[in-house]
């Protein structure tokens, strides 16, 4: 990928990772990109680097614009190694004494990733750095999504370098929102659901803050995926919507199964929900990826979880999904549990415990059926589905 001028004297010198398919447990069927930005003013600044494996490309991209040794400042908006991984090579190339700007937590966290004694400059919230015609303002955004995270704002160009926020794991030739249109939104939604959902309250506060500060934003440059230049408002509004966690009239029935019995129950439950006029789909965990399931959970009003009982425990993939979902702290959900069992049948109880811990509104004590559901058993599942459908219609217009 060649460098890309995104505004006068501002370049994306990042790289495309076409082949990555698993981003620490998040499926990236269409790869991703690591964006890094070069601002060529009286002083030259580099905002973020790329994953270590791509450091050659980064330096080549920079060299197509300026001699890397001419970089005056490096800014680390975020410590995670997909953005900091090339710091050792970059700092070694440009001069290890060049200032490395980061937040206070960035200083702590970078030093726990890298042993080199770089010339760290930790900045306070709203601190500025003048490059000549432009002034950079650093905005602390702790826990969006790491303690070290910050944004860099260029007021003269009205550009917000937003680190991981507003990003998408998407690899393509498109660089900007206007080149790809609406088809980027599912990627942006998946990214939000799997990375930022638990920080929804912080995002709402951040959006208020940005309005309060009167920051004019013409372009948002995240560290992954396309850049929002035509309509940054679109992704901001999407974040406001997703962070408010207002559910749609939709249910997901997530399950695993050993001999199709729990599956049969799942499908009957879905049928009942659908008969109430609510969207529902059964999601077989082993046929899906947890990150895809989580994207469906984002705007669902109900998450119904089914598991067989194996050796008195939940089927392991169900535990995987429940652990993953718990960490992302979804709010405003209706929940219920179900499962087929052989003899001890702990699964419904165990699922209910997890759903309670997640503060779901558990509207039914759950359904468990021994071995293969007969017609009576299926009818009970259908009834549960109807109950869920009705409950959803009550809380979602």
């Amino acid at each position: 990928m060649n460098p890309n001028e995104i505004a006068k004297d501002i370049y994306d010198v990042g790289v495309i990772d076409w082949n990555i398919r698993d981003f620490h447990g998040y499926s990236t069927y269409q790869g991703t990109s690591y964006n890094a930005f070069l601002i060529v003013d009286e002083k030259i600044a580099l905002i973020d680097t790329v994953k270590k494996e791509f450091s050659d490309q980064l330096l080549e991209n920079i060299a197509k614009i300026v001699d890397p040794k001419k970089i005056d400042y490096v800014i680390s908006n975020h410590t995670e190694m997909d953005h900091s991984g090339s710091l050792p090579r970059v700092m070694h190339k440009i001069g290890e004494d060049k200032p490395l700007y980061c937040s206070k937590m960035g200083l702590k966290n970078l030093s726990r990733h890298f042993s080199q004694k770089w010339n760290y400059h930790s900045v306070a919230n709203s601190e500025t750095l003048n490059l000549g015609k432009r002034t950079l303002t650093f905005l602390e955004t702790r826990m969006l999504h790491w303690p070290d995270s910050m944004f860099t704002y260029v007021k003269e160009d009205k550009i917000l370098f937003s680190s991981d926020a507003f990003g998408q794991h998407y690899a393509g030739h498109e660089k900007f929102d206007d080149q790809i249109g609406d088809s980027i939104m599912p990627h942006a939604k998946k990214y939000f659901a799997n990375i930022l959902l638990l920080y929804s309250p912080l995002i709402l506060k951040l959006l208020e803050k940005v309005t309060e500060l009167g920051l004019e934003i013409d372009m948002i440059c995240p560290d992954h995926g396309i850049i929002w230049r035509k309509d940054p408002g679109k992704i901001i509004n999407a974040y406001a919507k997703w962070s408010s966690q207002k559910p749609e009239q939709k249910a997901v029935v997530v399950y695993d199964t050993m001999w199709h019995s729990t599956e049969t129950m799942a499908q009957e439950i879905v049928q009942g929900i659908v008969e109430e006029g609510v969207i529902a789909r059964p999601i077989h965990i082993r046929s899906s990826h947890r990150s895809e399931i989580m994207t469906e959970v984002l705007d669902a009003a109900a998450v119904i979880v089914g598991s067989p009982t194996i050796n008195n425990q939940l089927f392991p993939t169900v535990s995987d999904f429940l652990t993953y979902m718990k960490g992302l702290k979804p709010k405003n959900k209706i929940g219920a549990a179900f499962g087929s069992y052989g003899w001890s049948g702990e699964s419904v109880k165990l699922i209910n415990q997890e759903l309670e811990a997640m503060k779901f509104d558990i509207i039914d004590s759950g359904v468990k059926i021994q071995y293969v559901p007969n017609q009576d058993g299926k009818d009970i599942c259908l009834e549960l589905g109807r109950k869920i459908g009705k409950a959803i219609k009550e809380i979602v217009d």
Binding site: E140, R142, P147
Partner: protein, 55 residues
């Protein structure tokens, strides 16, 4: 009553507010928080909190 700040994420525990979502009533001093209490901002354990220096 003194405020404490999480050294991981900057969350400020204000005893006057408490932490109602975790069942901690307003007026609860930091020292009175249970040992297994976690930072509402980032989940870090109680040990990561430091007393805020008064201005």
């Amino acid at each position: 009553m003194e405020k404490y700040v999480c050294s991981m994420c900057g969350y400020i525990y204000d005893p006057q507010q408490g932490d109602p979502e975790s069942g901690i009533a307003p007026g609860t001093r930091f020292e009175e928080l249970p040992d297994d209490w976690k930072c509402p901002g980032c989940g870090a354990p109680k040990e990561q909190f430091k007393k805020m220096r008064t201005q």
